[in-house]
Symmetry: C2
Subunit: 460 residues, 2 copies
């Protein structure tokens, strides 16, 4: 990490913040149709930045859903090519009432920027844009070939980019030696990390229907199956109090953790009581034979993300609701397949469906997990880059989150993959009051510049 680069970043902090905040103010929520125009505004803003700030050839690629944004540097013959991936869509701001500041207006409080997308993934994505700009401004040229691809659907299943990767011509457009992604966390503010494993995810919505209308619970109670009770019973059978998923065959494809891997995961600094206290808890949950770090990163899990049914207003309403539904997800580990899980789940639920209730199970999205070989020369180069910024070697970690499209892109492009996040778990991505510390953000820019510098020297 050169002093010149650091100086450049320091001197342009305000300019960088202004640009970042412009991006944060566009409420690009991919899950809600009402934000459709914001998705386009956001894509146009990004293409404009690549073009105007970096002088890249930038394109908006139309898709059946939200546009992709692609940009590439002028060619540097003989140098490796890195494809930098990011996503410009964000999670919904719900529950909006729990935000202390407006969710789409960046607010700097205690050295942190509060805004939906501050970290995930506008902040993280932009660290790379600003890093490339810093390299260009301090050196006059780039040491390697750089391509950017941004999608607008990471939070809802990446269908457009996934379809884009199906075509050989498109794969030639995106071709790279290595993919660089910042959509994961670092272990701690002063501890860099490279994520070498990610969980997959599969999401569903289950709707149970009973009577053709809400019924009076006095006139009918005790003689008619209540769809909310049926839903509670069916969902609570999926997981036991020991954190084990009870669907027959669910664990069949799970590769047992090796002793070596468990030792590596145990190196991660993790204070369980402190981590729990940070989210207001005094007890953890889960499979007793695995550590909390293992449960989060290397074991599958089941969560209900939302449930709804019947009367939810003020006071009470003495009814048997006509229907009830729930959205839920499983996190998967490498080698578990969404299709297999879906088949087993459907059979499990059907076999438990009580008389008088109809079920509708909708598959919402799914992707497998992945693990990256630690011996990749690009991974080692990235580690040297991070060490030059933080003064210590990064930890190699397995992350519990899922970036489904990344696993697919890696496989489709035959490229190596570096997941080096600049944000922290405590940033509260997907939660109200999501934030990104300014220090972490600027360290992210420095880290990206250092990683790109090291990658330029690496050989496949």
């Amino acid at each position: 990490m050169t002093e010149l680069l650091k100086k450049y970043i320091r001197e342009h902090e305000q300019e960088i913040l202004n640009t970042w905040f412009e991006a944060l103010r566009i409420p690009s929520v991919s899950a809600k149709a009402e934000h459709k125009p914001d998705m386009r505004r956001m894509a146009e803003w990004l293409a404009d930045i690549l073009d105007r700030e970096l002088g890249f050839a930038a394109d908006i690629i139309e898709t059946e859903t939200n546009p992709l944004v692609f940009g590439q540097s002028p060619e540097v013959p003989g140098a490796p090519t890195v494809l930098i991936y990011g996503h410009y869509d964000v999670q919904p701001a719900d529950p909006v009432g729990q935000w202390r500041t407006p969710p789409f207006e960046p607010a700097v409080i205690d050295g942190k920027v509060f805004c939906r997308g501050a970290d995930d993934d506008k902040g993280q994505s932009l660290t790379h844009v600003f890093a490339v700009k810093s390299l260009l401004e301090t050196d006059g040229k780039l040491p390697l070939n750089i391509k950017f691809i941004f999608e607008g659907e990471e939070e809802v299943g990446s269908s457009a980019l996934s379809a884009f990767l199906e075509s050989e011509e498109n794969r030639r457009t995106l071709a790279a030696d290595v993919i660089l992604v910042s959509d994961t966390d670092k272990p701690a503010a002063d501890d860099p990390g490279i994520t070498y494993g990610l969980r997959g995810v599969v999401g569903y919505e289950l709707t149970l229907t009973g009577p053709n209308r809400d019924l009076h619970s006095g006139l009918y109670g005790g003689s008619v199956r209540n769809p909310v009770i049926a839903l509670c019973a069916m969902l609570s059978e999926i997981i036991g109090p020991d954190g084990k998923i009870r669907i027959p065959g669910f664990y069949d494809d799970v590769v047992p953790l090796s002793a070596l891997e468990r030792a590596e995961l145990a190196r991660r600094p993790f204070d369980e009581a402190e981590a729990l206290a940070a989210v207001g808890l005094d007890a953890s949950f889960g499979e007793p034979e695995f550590t909390v770090v293992e449960r989060r990163g290397a074991r599958p899990s089941f969560d209900i993300n939302g449930i709804t049914g019947g009367y939810q207003g003020e006071g009470g309403k003495t009814i048997i609701p006509a229907r009830a539904s729930a959205k839920f997800t499983f996190r998967l580990v490498p080698n578990q397949k969404p299709e297999t899980v879906t088949r087993a789940l459907e059979e499990f639920l059907r076999s438990r469906l009580p008389a008088g209730i109809k079920m509708d199970l909708v598959f919402q999205h799914g992707a497998g997990g992945m693990v990256i070989p630690l011996e990749s020369p690009f991974l080692q180069a990235a580690a040297r880059g991070l060490e030059s910024v933080y003064g210590k070697a990064p930890l190699f970690i397995r992350d519990g989150g899922s970036i489904p499209i990344v696993a697919q892109a890696k496989e489709r492009l035959g490229a190596d993959l570096i997941l080096a996040g600049a944000g922290l778990e405590e940033d509260g991505i997907h939660s109200p009051n999501e934030h990104f510390a300014l220090r972490d953000f600027f360290l992210g820019i420095e880290s990206s510049a250092a990683i790109l510098t090291e990658l330029a020297k690496a050989k496949r």
Copy 2:
């Protein structure tokens, strides 16, 4: 039933409908604070009707919540006194989207009036007002002393009327030989009935809280207790697939049904398949050793009325929600006490509360059930009145619904009680598209006039 009276009612149908529809257009939803002004409008409208149409001395009685409306006829010395009870509040119209016509605009379709409150209880209450008016107009005077009491909180626990009954002076105001109530169903359009038993009800809201904010299900999944899953598990333990409530001691105070009573209940014409088909079901539910009629009217039951937690919008959101809650009710049979059930329930839930979850159980409302002795001379007089209108003796039935305040008023006033409804189960009270057939409504007016005529001759 005199021909003169029938003729009077027939000739005044349009005038009666106009008055009834005025009442239906006032959205007096007691469960929602936004309707507070409508509660007063409705009370004032009722007092005005008693005063203007019947020449009764009518008062609005202020309470800590919604006003009571009281009115009484000029004294008829030596004649019995009947207290007619009704409620002017209605259930919320939710889910509003499922109404085929606007919920607070009466619409006459196929001889039925569709509107929230058409039956429960504005329509039923007003049958008595119009009956009294018909008696006055055809005879010039009333054959007995009549008092009306209307409350605005039957759907939310009757707290004002309950408090009113605490004072001896107020009990003198309401003093009567018999209470007449139309807030129950008749067995079929041409089959009159007198309800001699009602279930009680007790309602709660349970909220479970886990982490202090919604968490990312990738980063935390498998290591943190999910409050929605905990809620599902706890609630589904309350009842078994056999319809049995599993709370220890719950059935301790239930008086077994006698063979005689089961025989009486079996007399009620009831086509199970038809009743199920009417609400879109092909299977019943519940305790196998009891008939559907028994389950509905004479056995306790448990229903979740509403459940909510996490993300309920479009698409998905991969979170572990911070909290989840449910509203639920138990229907009770005579001799079961709400306090006893509450204690047992709280203990049951506490013993099942998993680590990492906090619970808050709020008691919303409660009242015991009741059974009325069949030998009451007023009950027999009412039966003769109904027979004179329908040409057949009424069935004596036990209804699954609850009118908590009625049991209390009966006890406090030491009066007999007649529950003779004019509506039908199929009217869909508490559901979208609540309605009341015009024929049933006018038969209700005739029945009330006939019952009052017979009660005038009865001796305690």
